[in-house]
């Protein structure tokens, strides 16, 4: 791909968006509803100490624990469903049904269950990220074709050989897709969890600024949340490229 199409066009569109935002905000001139881009940037700079040390760190901790739990539970469940048709038919519908529950609506219940500790926020993050990771990994494990399985069987492969040498590597690209969806959702989950009750975190900070009608203060942590999501996504993409080098040859 040409460098222009890869970097220049999206960069120009993004800059155009920022300029438009700036102009509209200045014309409207109601900064507690729509602060201008520069106001938000200035705010981030002013509050850098609180934002970057306390709040970003608190949110990152929730994201890391929530995502970690999601990956462990999601993979375990995917493997379990893949091993037994009975488990699949029993659990899969519940899994899908769990996604139709409006998570934001039931999130306050987690506060009742886990109090204002980190675990209520982790639970919300888990609920957001668990589904895409589980389903993607499960689909990946199921993507192994019968031909390959039979070929390995003719070599005398055991169930364990087939799982480790065939199912796991086949599931890896799917797993990474699930994680990429998961990391962006994890940031949203953590922010919502913090909204409901926390002593720190970017979501909590944004809400506190809202009660003070500080428009730029609301936006500043949101920009950071979004950046956090982007950075996590890029990290996963880099890991993916490294692990799936062979895909370039296809």
């Amino acid at each position: 791909m040409k460098l222009t199409t890869k970097y220049l066009t999206p960069a120009l569109v993004f800059i155009a968006f920022l300029v438009l935002w700036e102009v509209v905000a200045r014309v409207l001139n109601v900064s507690f509803v729509l602060p201008s881009f520069t106001e938000v940037m200035v705010k981030i700079w002013d509050l850098r100490e609180a934002l970057f040390t306390t709040h970003l760190f608190a949110t990152l901790k929730i994201v890391a624990i929530g995502l970690g739990c999601s990956i462990v539970l999601g993979c375990a469940l995917a493997v379990w469903m893949n091993n037994s048709k009975a488990v699949e038919t029993a659990i899969y519908p519940i899994l899908v049904a769990s996604q139709t529950i409006p998570i934001i609506a039931i999130a306050p219940i987690f506060v009742l269950w886990f109090g204002y500790s980190i675990w209520s926020k982790v639970a919300v993050t888990l609920l957001f990220t668990f589904f895409p990771i589980t389903v993607a990994t499960f689909d990946g494990l199921k993507s192994v074709s019968k031909e390959y399985k039979e070929l390995l069987l003719t070599m005398g492969a055991t169930k364990k050989d087939i799982f480790l040498k065939l199912s796991v590597p086949s599931a890896l690209p799917f797993f990474y897709s699930g994680i990429k969806v998961g990391v962006t959702l994890s940031v949203i989950g953590a922010a919502i969890g913090e909204w409901l009750g926390a002593q720190a975190g970017l979501g909590y900070f944004s809400r506190r600024m809202m009660s003070q009608f500080d428009g730029a203060g609301v936006f500043a942590p949101i920009v950071l949340l979004s950046l956090l999501g982007i950075v996590l996504f890029l990290i996963v993409s880099a890991l993916e490229r490294k692990a799936l080098r062979w895909r370039k040859t296809q």
Partner: protein, 259 residues
């Protein structure tokens, strides 16, 4: 000197069951044959005549409903890992390098990695695959991938190798050079090869005996001997008795289509 029997079928019957055993689809109905060690056999027949089913029986993916199958003179019930199998599509694992793909059967047998690696590396050159060890299958041409697939089946360690239309997806020129390459490898390695093909020329060029599969169910296996000495050249196929045999085989296959 009497040669040892590599593979034999004794009144082998087989049918597939559909609708939970309500319907039976007979494929083989009492087949007998013996293949000596070091023979090169081709099997021709129309699609659905049971050629691939026979391979599934030999590899142990299916069990005969009656009769017995002997590998190297021993009746084996669990034949998985007893014979090498090379599928129609190369079925190389795209995430493994050529080296790792060829190592797969050794890994499954429990050969230590370092030892398996050395064994494969020493064989790559003989198979015309030198310098490809760190490439991925996606970087290799169809012919080269089939060489890796053949190497992998050789590394299964068995003297009996089943090749299921391995060259059918290759272009005519690559195919011819792969056929010559395969003959060379066979002569060098003293393996017993069973080779399924649709191509009468391929069957005549490669094998000593040709098994003709009639329409399923098969109760009698017709076989013809190829009247050619070895080593062969592709132009030997123009000899009158070979040309005659070719016409006969084509007639046989046509008859089945017309039926």
């Amino acid at each position: 000197m009497e040669k040892k029997i590599a593979l034999s079928f004794k009144s082998v019957k087989f049918h597939y069951e559909l609708d939970n055993g309500q319907t039976k689809v007979p494929i083989l109905d009492g087949i007998d044959f013996e293949i000596q060690d070091g023979e090169f056999i081709t099997i021709i027949g129309p699609s659905g005549s049971g050629k691939s089913t026979m391979f599934r029986l030999v590899t142990g993916l299916e069990q005969p409903t009656a009769g017995s199958i002997e590998v190297n003179g021993v009746e084996e019930v669990n034949r998985l890992s007893k014979v090498g199998y090379m599928p129609q599509k190369d079925l190389l694992l795209p995430w493994r390098s050529i080296l790792e793909n060829a190592m797969l059967p050794l890994e499954i047998k429990g050969v230590p990695k370092q030892e398996a690696k050395e064994q494969v590396l020493s064989m790559l050159e003989e198979f015309g695959l030198k310098g490809t060890e760190n490439k991925f299958p996606g970087n290799l041409s169809g012919g080269m991938r089939q060489r890796v697939s053949f190497l992998r089946s050789v590394l299964s360690g068995s003297n009996v190798l089943l090749l299921d239309e391995p060259f059918s997806a290759l272009d005519a020129i690559t195919r011819l050079s792969m056929q010559e390459w395969l003959l060379e490898q066979w002569e060098k390695r003293n393996k017993t090869l069973l080779f399924i093909t649709h191509d009468v020329d391929e069957a005549l060029f490669l094998s000593g005996r040709i098994f003709i599969f009639r329409q399923a169910p098969i109760s009698y296996l017709e076989e013809v001997k190829v009247p050619l000495a070895r080593p062969r050249k592709i132009r030997d196929l123009a000899q009158p008795e070979v040309a005659e045999l070719k016409d006969y085989l084509i007639d046989q296959l046509r008859k089945k289509v017309a039926q």
